[in-house]
């Protein structure tokens, strides 16, 4: 079965601000990703505005924020590629699925594979790093299925609800991903280009 879904990834726009703020204020966002509960909604908004304001025309951006969108359900999640190093051809990736009903769904996996495909086949990166909390098993399972290796285990590393939890560090090299693609060609066949603007494609098809 090819990994097809109705989602696509695109650059986040200013109009997406309210949706992203809404996600970033969710307890799950704080728990699974950037857990700083002391930040006020205003600080969150300012942070997002600054990240959306980064110029896409910049030749070598240090970070990219992409929205996982769909015609059917609207924005589904947020994908950030940070600490992009053009010298080391590497980045760190974070994925947040805002729609809870999709978290254990194929949508999360497809979105991640689209991001990986974009990193290796469009940005020409060599390595993707992801730090995932041990209690976030659905996320690290997706990483492992993509061929990523669990390279680090930081014991008692992050505090949540008054307890310390382990954090796993995953590394996905281009060679790991190529091996995964060779092993599962039928899964990858449906991915196509990662930055497909479905609306534009649909318009072009209508026009033709």
């Amino acid at each position: 079965m090819a990994l097809k879904s109705k989602t696509y990834i695109r650059r986040a726009e200013r109009e997406d601000l309210d949706k992203i703020v809404e996600w970033m204020e969710e307890p799950d966002f704080l728990r699974f990703l950037y857990g700083d509960p002391t930040r006020s909604p205003r600080q969150i908004r300012e942070h997002i505005v600054s990240m959306l304001g980064r110029s896409s025309a910049q030749t070598v951006p240090g970070s990219l924020y992409l929205l996982i969108d769909s015609e059917e359900w609207g924005p589904v999640g947020l994908l950030s590629l940070q600490n992009i190093s053009w010298r080391n051809r590497s980045c760190s990736a974070d994925l947040y699925i805002g729609k809870k009903e999709f978290r254990n769904h194929m949508v999360a996996a497809v979105s991640f594979y689209r991001a990986v495909d974009y990193c290796f086949n469009e940005l020409n990166l060599h390595r993707i790093t992801a730090y995932i909390y041990a209690f976030n098993e659905p996320s690290w399972r997706i990483m492992e299925k993509s061929g990523a290796k669990r390279e680090l285990t930081f014991r008692d590393h992050v505090a949540r609800d008054g307890q310390l939890y382990d954090v796993y560090g995953y590394g996905l090299l281009r060679s790991d991903y190529e091996a995964f693609c060779q092993k599962h060609p039928h899964l990858i066949a449906g991915l196509m280009s990662s930055m497909v603007d479905a609306q534009r494609v649909a318009s072009a098809e209508t026009a033709s």
Partner: protein, 179 residues
């Protein structure tokens, strides 16, 4: 200034910039001098003067490590502290030849005291490039345990380098008072 039997450790000042700059050597990359993206920094003397002049929450960015004759042999720091999760990053910048000396033992004791006694951290972390074998041995001698190896993290000197992470928990640390 904290005086040990073999060293004196004090807040680094802008005047120490020239010595610090010698450690930013592209032919001998050090994990602790890589940035967030794991790229090697090559700061100018002016930039280093500015950095050393800064204080973080009233504390210096680096401590200078002097030998008994007053010569600055290197630097150390406890940086990137996560107060919520109670850990900090252990940074020691010394020549390889100094890492297996009593001076380096005192540098470890100074930072371990800072982390585990004064700040009551649960653990300290550090990193080591695959080319830093003397630093790796130094960490193991002081009880650090490997958390794993990140592959092909940085490209320098014509090849990819792996980066190993180490941690030392308070319960496993042997801490002696320097003074």
């Amino acid at each position: 200034m904290i005086r040990g039997k073999y060293s004196a450790i004090r807040s680094a000042e802008a005047d120490d910039a020239a010595v610090l700059k010698t450690f930013y050597d592209p032919s001998r990359p050090r994990s602790c001098l890589l940035d967030m993206r794991r790229e090697l920094l090559l700061p100018s003397l002016d930039e280093l003067r500015e950095v050393l002049g800064q204080k973080e929450q009233g504390k210096p960015i680096f401590y200078a490590v002097e030998n008994l004759t007053g010569e600055v042999r290197g630097f150390c720091s406890m940086r990137g502290q996560s107060l919520e999760s109670t850990y900090g990053e252990f940074v020691v910048v010394l020549d390889d030849a100094d890492l297996d000396t009593p001076l380096a033992v005192e540098v470890f004791q100074f930072l371990a005291n800072q982390a585990f006694v004064r700040m009551r951290f649960n653990k300290i972390l550090t990193h080591c490039l695959d080319s830093e074998q003397e630093y790796r041995a130094y960490l193991l001698r002081h009880g650090f345990k490997s958390d794993g190896v990140q592959r092909d993290v940085t490209f320098m000197l014509g090849r990819w380098h792996n980066l190993e992470a180490f941690s030392l928990f308070a319960a496993d640390a042997v801490i002696e008072d320097l003074e």
